[in-house]
């Protein structure tokens, strides 16, 4: 079993996905532990998907959207924040560290910041070790 952490990142189409893209086109190096899923808006993230990601063996989940007041859909990122907070409460009940779920605001111009977030998150998750669900799946 590998100890490399796996991160599932839900990024919004308008800011964070573009930010990740900029990190790529600017050739900024960051750990290859992240799997990005692009959504139209961070507010589209359903707590079910976050739970499912963990249940399928993710060690961390990143939800990333436009900065506050900057959402392409006006208030989608506020909804994302609300949902992430309630999902954290569920994770705590399940006995998972709430830091495994992270919410970040990354704009389309912040490629370096995206790389920084992934780097930092990967390091933190490596220290935390695998989740109890990961061994269940053997991934």
């Amino acid at each position: 079993m590998t100890t490399e952490p796996k991160i599932v990142a839900f990024t919004c189409n308008w800011c964070s996905y573009a930010g990740a893209d900029l990190a790529g086109t600017s050739r900024i190096q960051y750990p290859a532990n992240v799997r990005i899923i692009r959504l139209m808006c961070s507010g589209r993230v359903d707590p079910t998907w976050i739970l499912k990601a963990f249940e399928l063996g993710a060690d961390g989940v990143l939800v990333s959207g436009c900065h506050p007041q900057d959402c392409h859909y006006i208030s989608g990122n506020e909804k994302a924040e609300e949902r992430v907070n309630s999902t954290k409460r569920l994770l705590r009940l399940l006995g998972l560290e709430t830091d495994r779920l992270r919410l970040e605001w990354i704009s389309a111009s912040e490629g370096a910041r995206f790389a920084e977030v992934i780097k930092d998150f990967t390091e933190k998750l490596s220290r935390m070790g695998p989740t109890p669900f990961r061994s269940k799946r053997g991934v």
């Binding site: 359903d46 079910t48 499912k52 309630s86 705590r92 399940l94 006995g95 669900f133 061994s135 269940k136």
Partner: protein, 388 residues
């Protein structure tokens, strides 16, 4: 436990169907959704149209409330038949109705991991006496999870657990509570995920054995049914007794250990949860608890006890039909002359509260004022009457 439609047909008397249609006439769902018919489903099964059943929507619509089998002259156990069909459909990979975006099922699946160490005891009231082992185990169920998932309608489900613990302490019992209790698996079983159900059942049985409990107390009728019937079906005779809070309280009243010193001056009507009532035939115990409380005027709905109408949802698979049924039931509660609806199931309570706090505009989904009534759990009311 039957896992294939054909096996279920042999065991659930489906072939004895007389096509009288009493089931469809009784079905609370068929009243609001004319597309649904238990009689037709049974007929299709007899004609061998298996694919039509397994791939149809009807198999997921059934509320498994057992009102049809209650009235069936041939004792066809339709809900058990439906459950087997769901198990087979799931095994075949047929996608089904997703309850709440699949969130609750996902949580339950997550709990099947043996290494999960939950942190779920935050609700226990300060100063309450609980322990890790003991003769009496209180199986809390998913109450702490409900409070987070159903946050918007403020279900305050943990109040049920808090009331139970306070009552137990008052009568001198220190209950054992499992820090890593898992979902009983009811919802997964009734949505066809039998393998995950078996895992949860095994893990829970191991945890219960560790506490050394001789009695397992349940405040959730679905969990009660699952442990008492389905775990027993899986593991043979259980090494402990399973009781519901209403039965336990009624015993305490008989022994003179439970005394209600506060008067509650309200007109109360009791809603029979289908798992507690028709599935396990507990009708008198909750009524006895209610009538022992001074000041309580106990009313009855037109359809009560074995004839009680379902709250409209099974395993969280809710839709507009459910809402219509809930309004119908709440109206009935008000028509009984009561001002407080008491139920013994945390899920019934959530479903009723949900429809009453409907946010859709009245032009789209009208919830009439005559369908609004206070809802409370039996344990909460009992705790209030004891001054807790």
């Amino acid at each position: 436990m039957e896992t294939r439609m054909e096996d279920a047909m042999a065991k659930t008397n489906v072939r004895y169907c007389l096509k009288c249609g009493k089931c469809t006439g009784s079905c609370p769902l068929a009243r609001v959704n004319p597309e649904y018919s238990p009689r037709q489903t049974v007929e299709r099964a007899i004609l061998g149209r298996k694919d039509q059943i397994l791939r149809g929507k009807g198999v997921w619509w059934c509320l498994t409330c057992e009102l049809c089998s209650e009235r069936c002259p041939q004792e066809v156990r339709y809900p058990d038949f439906i459950r087997a069909c769901r198990i087979e459909a799931t095994a075949k990979g047929i996608e089904h109705m997703c309850a709440h975006g699949g969130m609750l099922a996902e949580l339950q699946r997550a709990m099947t991991s043996p290494e999960v160490k939950q942190d779920r005891l935050g609700w226990i009231p300060k100063g309450a006496k609980v322990s890790g082992t003991g003769d009496l185990l209180y199986f809390v169920g998913c109450l702490p999870y409900f409070d987070v998932i159903m946050e918007k309608i403020k279900p305050d489900s943990v109040a049920i657990g808090q009331s139970v613990v306070k009552i137990l302490n008052r009568v001198g019992v220190t209950p054992a509570i499992m820090p890593n209790e898992r979902c009983c698996g009811h919802d997964l079983l009734w949505t066809g995920e039998v393998e995950s159900f078996k895992k949860l059942a095994k893990l829970n049985m191991d945890e219960i054995a560790k506490t050394g409990a001789k009695t397992v107390l349940m405040s959730c009728p679905e969990g009660y049914r699952t442990l008492k019937l389905d775990y027993a079906d899986l593991f043979g005779e259980l090494p402990f007794e399973v009781v519901h809070t209403s039965e336990f309280f009624s015993r305490l009243i008989d022994e003179g250990r439970m005394k209600f010193d506060k008067s509650i001056d309200r007109k109360v009507v009791y809603h029979d949860p289908c798992r507690l009532g028709r599935h396990l035939r507990v009708f008198d115990a909750p009524r006895k608890v209610l009538s022992s409380i001074s000041g309580v005027q106990l009313k009855e709905m037109e359809r009560s006890r074995a004839e009680a109408m379902c709250c409209g949802v099974d395993a969280w698979m809710c839709n507009s039909n459910s809402k219509q049924m809930q309004i119908e039931r709440l109206r009935e509660a008000r028509m009984s002359g009561a001002d407080l609806l008491v139920t013994a199931c945390p899920k019934c309570q959530i479903h009723f509260r949900c429809v009453m706090s409907e946010k859709l505009p009245k032009s789209v989904f009208p919830v009439p004022d005559e369908a609004k009534i206070d809802v409370m759990d039996l344990s909460e009311l009992a705790a209030k009457a004891m001054g807790l």
